[in-house]
């Protein structure tokens, strides 16, 4: 089985649930307590793709929340094969942050595989993101997932989708 390693960065505004999403995907665990990420937190997870005979290891860079990136964040993003943009479904303003970050990344580093996660699906009563908002996202991102790090809903599928995109991009490049 071929072994491939890819760098994936999770980006988004403050407290949208980036670390929780990563924790759910890597360790299938969720914590109610909020600990802000300083700098970057790194995890890895291996995904088997039997039909391609590939063992795909994702090195996940969970980057501290920000509305805009500075030099340090860009240094962290350098060489990423894919991005996971995380939006807080209970705060519509975080959509704008995600779009800004996407613009910055595209300007500075060029396009790459990406998905967007509208997170905190479990907090339906506080939901702010409207259908039109989602449509706006879909116009910019090929894949939009409504996820809950708390319940694990759609999280794994989103990562797997991104991983698949990365592999397709790599194969296309070859």
């Amino acid at each position: 089985m071929t072994s491939i390693t890819s760098k994936v960065c999770i980006v988004g505004d403050f407290a949208v649930g980036k670390t929780s999403v990563a924790e759910r995907f890597v360790n299938n665990h969720f914590s109610e307590s909020y600990l802000t990420t300083v700098g970057v937190k790194i995890d890895t997870k291996e995904i088997e793709v039997p039909e391609l005979g590939i063992s795909h290891k994702l090195v996940i860079w969970d980057i501290a929340g920000s509305e805009r990136f500075g030099h340090t964040e860009f240094a962290y993003l350098r060489g990423a094969s894919g991005y996971i943009y995380v939006v807080d479904g209970t705060r519509a303003s975080t959509l704008r942050s995600a779009m800004n970050l996407q613009d910055q990344i595209n300007d500075k580093l060029g396009g790459a595989a990406s998905v967007v996660l509208v997170n905190k699906k479990d907090l339906a009563s506080d939901w702010e993101v409207s259908e039109s908002n989602v449509e706006a996202l879909q116009s910019r991102f090929s894949q939009v997932f409504t996820t809950s790090a708390k319940t694990g809903d759609e999280v794994e599928r989103a990562f797997e989708k991104l991983a698949r995109q990365i592999l397709e991009n790599d194969m296309r490049a070859d």
Binding site: T5, S6, K7, G39, I42, T44, V59, T72, A75, R78
Partner: protein, 565 residues
């Protein structure tokens, strides 16, 4: 204005204005300063980029400026340097202490070994301090792990490690090191050209060697020598030469960099000279053997010395023990063999050995019995032969046995009669021996002699007199029973007396009858009087007496010693 001036005005009017303007600018100091200020930064940049002339020109004045400024306002400069000085000093001290402690360890370890002596000589020839020389020679370090990391994306290109090393998720380590590298660069290098090249973590040192496309990070245990970095750079250069394009385009597919781990393995060959497997072990073997032999020799030497000491102690103890004569004493392994003569009354050899801290089990005594004539043994033999009353003691001197204390008279007689059995002495001195039982007997006899028992008229005892005679007879019987034990024979004499009235011839008969009456009482108690006497006539006249006082029988005792006192 003349024609010439008008002509000049027509021909050079514009140039003249320009010249006047330039002249005014040159003459006015503030304008000149503003002009220089405008171009100064750019001029400095250009000059600095061109060559070092500007730096050389500024070195002296800038140095003097700084010096003067510090002298005039030291506090400001102190505050500015404070955040830098502390860590710098700490780092310097830690580095120095680390090297120093290692130098001491090495120096101590090698100072007395053959290698140490050789190195000491070589260090003195080279004029290098011994500690430093030892450090150069040993340089304890080992590259435990080597990571080859893509500079572009932080992905791990290759990773090798020693089998014993504990390995975490190497991809995460690679990414995290890259993140730290980026963080340090962004935070502490204003122009982002700085690079994290080393980090210390406890006993490990991380060294990062930077190449155009990849970063070689080595985890080193111990203190690596400076020259190692050049070797690691050479390895990284070789990797770039072979895989440069693949690493530049690296996207996480390890098949694009085949056998890169083989190249990385070269890093792991770098380890301390002392830990290069067999050599160290081989060199240790003779030393260990030597140390073991030395330990055995020391042990045997000590044991031999200890045994010799014990032998001397045992010999001395036996020599001063009465009744023992040693003809041969020797050591047989752990055992002491003693041959000679021993009086049965002497202290056993095993007991003597234990008194000088030698276990009895380690003494083999082959002693022949004999009769010792040493005073202590003669005294012991006398005690065994004669028995010895508690208060009696024997002392042998000058062929005489001196006996002192108090003993029964009969024991004294037995000692005298059996003295000839005791060998080694010819005289018996009992001048200090008392026989208190004989003296006591004499006192009792004295008390009982001369007792009188009175009569009424005729042969009738006065009231109470007969009872007293009975008691007296019992005491006499007891005395007579003891007489033989103290060497006396006792004769009981009865002497009768009568008053002066009546016929003397009749009185004489009466006296006799009274004595017989008393004798009868005595005989009843086992006391046989040997003689009955009549009191002399003069006695009755000696002092005025009543008739009753003259009517009595007196019991007297006569002691005769059976032997010489």
């Amino acid at each position: 204005m003349n024609d010439l001036d008008q002509l000049k005005e027509l021909l050079f009017g514009a140039e003249k204005e320009a010249l006047d303007s330039i002249s005014r600018r040159v003459e006015r100091r503030e304008v000149r300063a503003a002009d220089v200020a405008d171009i100064l930064p750019e001029a400095i940049h250009q000059s600095h980029a061109k060559d070092d002339e500007l730096v050389e020109a500024l070195t002296l004045p800038v140095g003097e400026c700084v010096q003067r400024a510090i002298q005039e306002d030291p506090e400001t400069y102190g505050n500015a340097l404070y955040p830098v000085i502390g860590p710098a000093i700490r780092k310097s001290i830690m580095h120095t202490l680390r090297n120093f402690s290692q130098q001491i360890n090495e120096a101590v370890e090698h100072s007395i070994s053959p290698t140490g002596l050789k190195w000491r000589w070589q260090a003195s020839r080279a004029g290098v301090p011994f500690g430093e020389y030892v450090l150069q020679k040993t340089m304890q370090y080992r590259i435990e792990q080597a990571y080859l990391i893509s500079r572009e994306n932080g992905l791990l290109v290759g990773h090798v490690h020693h089998e014993a090393s504990k390995i975490k998720d190497s991809d995460a380590v690679s990414a995290m090191f890259t993140a730290i590298q980026d963080f340090v660069k962004e935070s502490f290098s204003p122009d982002r050209t700085g690079r994290l090249e080393s980090a210390d973590m406890g006993e490990f040192t991380l060294w990062a060697v930077h190449g155009p496309h990849a970063l070689l990070v080595c985890v080193i245990r111990g203190v690596p020598p400076k020259g190692l970095r050049a070797d690691l750079s050479a390895i990284l250069e070789r990797i770039h030469f072979r895989y440069g394009d693949a690493i530049r385009e690296y996207k996480g597919d390890t098949s694009s960099v085949p056998d890169v781990d083989v190249e990385l393995e070269r890093c792991l060959r770098y380890e301390a000279r002392r830990e290069t497997s067999g050599d160290r072990k081989k060199s240790r073997i003779p030393i260990i053997t030597l140390l073991l032999l030395l330990a055995v020799a020391v042990f045997l030497g000590y044991r031999s010395w200890s045994h010799a000491q014990q032998l001397d102690r045992l010999d001395a103890a036996l020599a001063k023990t009465p009744g023992i004569h040693v003809t041969d004493i020797d050591r047989d392994g752990d055992e002491f063999v003693v041959r000679g003569l021993r009086d049965p009354l002497a202290i056993p050899v095993a007991e003597i050995a234990e008194s000088v801290d030698i276990p009895a089990a380690r003494v083999n005594a082959a002693m022949q019995p004999f009769q010792s004539l040493q005073p202590e043994i003669i005294e012991a033999r006398a005690a065994r032969l004669f028995g010895r009353p508690q208060s009696v003691s024997f002392k042998v001197s000058a062929a005489s046995l001196h006996v002192s204390g108090d003993a029964p008279w009969i024991w004294r007689q037995q000692l005298r009669s059996r003295f000839g059995l005791l060998a080694g002495v010819s005289e018996l001195d009992m001048s200090s021996l008392t026989t208190s039982d004989r003296l006591s007997f004499e006192a009792r006899a004295k008390q009982l002699t001369g007792a009188r028992f009175h009569f009424e008229n005729g042969t009738i005892f006065s009231p109470g007199s007969e009872d007293r005679l009975v008691k007296h007879a019992e005491s006499l019987a007891a005395l007579l029973a003891d007489a033989a034990t103290v060497g006396y024979s006792v004769a009981v004499l009865l002497q009768g007396s009568a008053d002066l009235t009546g016929d003397p011839a009749l009185n004489a008969v009466l006296v006799r009858q009274r004595a017989e009456a008393a004798a009868a009482v005595l005989r009843l108690h086992g006391v046989e009087p040997v003689d009955i006497l009549q009191a002399p006539a003069g006695d009755s006249q000696s002092r005025p007496q009543s008739d009753m006082d003259r009517r009595y029988v007196q019991v007297d005792l006569q002691l005769s010693s059976l032997t010489d006192p």
